[in-house]
Symmetry: C2
Subunit: 305 residues, 2 copies
């Protein structure tokens, strides 16, 4: 755990044909030093998320190979799904994983954006920490209107023009939204009720936009096949808004309605620090820190020698 | 985290003079490949615990240096404290930490015992997994009567004779109780009451000996200076008896008496797996396993390449 590593999480607009997702994954894995960490596909969304890690000197090359492979396989003119999308490879965030800062990842995002246009002729928008305009910080603002509207507007409306390349979108692959952000935890809590309004009310109370937990986006969703409802969240700053504090607040709000938590779900991966914070918080452990974990202490000492 | 590592936890009968404990720690650290993980001293107990890790080919040498240093500094004829003890270096467990089994640690314990007698003329008893007689599995059985009684009885009573060396104990350093065991978690839960009987009742309910949690030893103790009571535990099999399950049961039993948990305390270190089990258990995380932690997944893939 001593070398420099960037996490990169390409979202591609294909969630139904595993062979195509395999092809994109293989393209990523063909770059030197890549570790494929996780992959998930959703047929309704028609979307897949591949999470990989790579050193900073090869992560952009791996990302380029993903964009190129997705653009060859996916034609947005005939693609459909419930998830909004603007590109064949739709979203490409760079995340500091080990030994790097968010500033490093902004640089990598900008470098990747330039190469995507120069080498693949696909225009690029920058979002979150890599945004170059305040109205493009939020991914949902950048993507509003999706491929169908933006291919019309980008060439004629400077407010909608890509940050790099264009102004026309790529005719089949659209554009890539490239960003830099901190680690994100996708986390859902399932409640033993079919009362969708309760899940929506809880989501309303906890999301950052309504004055809830900083960096938390939340939705109330039905899990029809199980007769349950879900509070579905993205936690973009787990140090400010720890998973276990959110869990406890959802439990408290549900209990006010006589409802209990059935289980919670992690989508993809979570960082070690969030696991340690949850254990220490829920056990009310006094004077706990990462060095009290044997393996962490061994690592610390091994690398300091 | 890929190389072989043994944890070794010498308990020495000196908890009041930090300079002497420093000397023992330096003796340990002078062996090749040693990582000093943690150290704690208690003046009332007059006892210190040094936790270190080393590769199997140097851990016995490091342990020998600890025994030798402690024997030079500590004279049991004038040592006193509330904690029972039989040796200057009193207890010496070997614990499989990384890439080794308990069988490997039994071999290391037996090898260390032979060297302690051959090179330092201090006799040795074996306990827990390294015991060679069923009546010596439990440390408290081996140590019953302490230095003062056993130096009288060991030479004349075969039931009390050392496993290696003797039969006389060393005149000032006593004997070393050498063992092999799994990782142990020393864990206390503090309750917001001064009712010592409640802590004792809860300890009675949860300890293995009374049919409670497997591998759990528990005592109810007063924390007089804070006006609280404590359930103080050793968890010798945290996979069978997870920390968070014990925490929840203590909370439940306390709540029946209208009492709450103020905090819990870890003494020394705990293994990563126990932290992950606690987080997953208390968050009711479905389908969680160690590979869902980003850093674990990166390590797995890095070492498989």
């Amino acid at each position: 755990m001593s070398r420099l590593l960037v996490e990169c999480v390409p979202n591609i607009s294909e969630g139904r044909d595993p062979a195509r997702v395999d092809t994109v994954e293989r393209a990523i894995a063909s770059a030197p030093g890549v570790l494929i960490l996780h992959r998930t596909s959703d047929a309704d969304h028609n979307r897949s998320v591949i999470t990989f890690a790579a050193p900073p000197d090869t992560v952009v090359e791996a990302a380029l190979r993903a964009v190129s492979a997705a653009a060859k396989l996916i034609d947005l003119r005939s693609q459909s799904g419930v998830h909004p999308r603007l590109g064949a490879l739709d979203v490409l965030p760079f995340v500091p994983l080990q030994g790097l800062t968010i500033a490093d990842c902004i640089q990598l995002a900008h470098h990747a954006g330039q190469r995507i246009w120069n080498e693949l002729a696909i225009p690029v928008y920058f979002y979150e920490a890599a945004a170059t305009r305040p109205d493009r910080v939020r991914l949902e603002d950048v993507r509003r209107g999706e491929f169908e509207l933006l291919r019309e507007r980008a060439p004629i409306d400077p407010l909608k023009a890509p940050d790099i390349g264009g102004p026309e979108l790529h005719p089949t692959a659209g554009a890539v939204v490239v960003g830099a952000r901190k680690i994100l935890i996708a986390y859902n809590v399932n409640l033993n009720t079919a009362d969708l309004q309760l899940a929506k009310d809880i989501a309303n109370r906890i999301r950052a936009r309504n004055g809830g937990f900083p960096g938390v986006k939340a939705l109330g969703l039905p899990l029809a096949s199980r007769g349950l409802v879900q509070v579905s969240m993205n936690i973009t700053d787990f140090e400010a808004s720890p998973v276990h504090v959110i869990y406890a607040e959802v439990a408290r709000l549900a209990a006010l309605a006589g409802v209990e938590i059935v289980e919670s779900e992690l989508i993809g991966l979570m960082p070690k620090k969030a696991v340690e914070m949850a254990a220490a918080g829920l056990l009310k452990l006094s004077d706990f820190h990462s060095s009290r974990v044997i393996e962490n202490r061994v690592d610390e000492l091994s690398f300091s020698k």
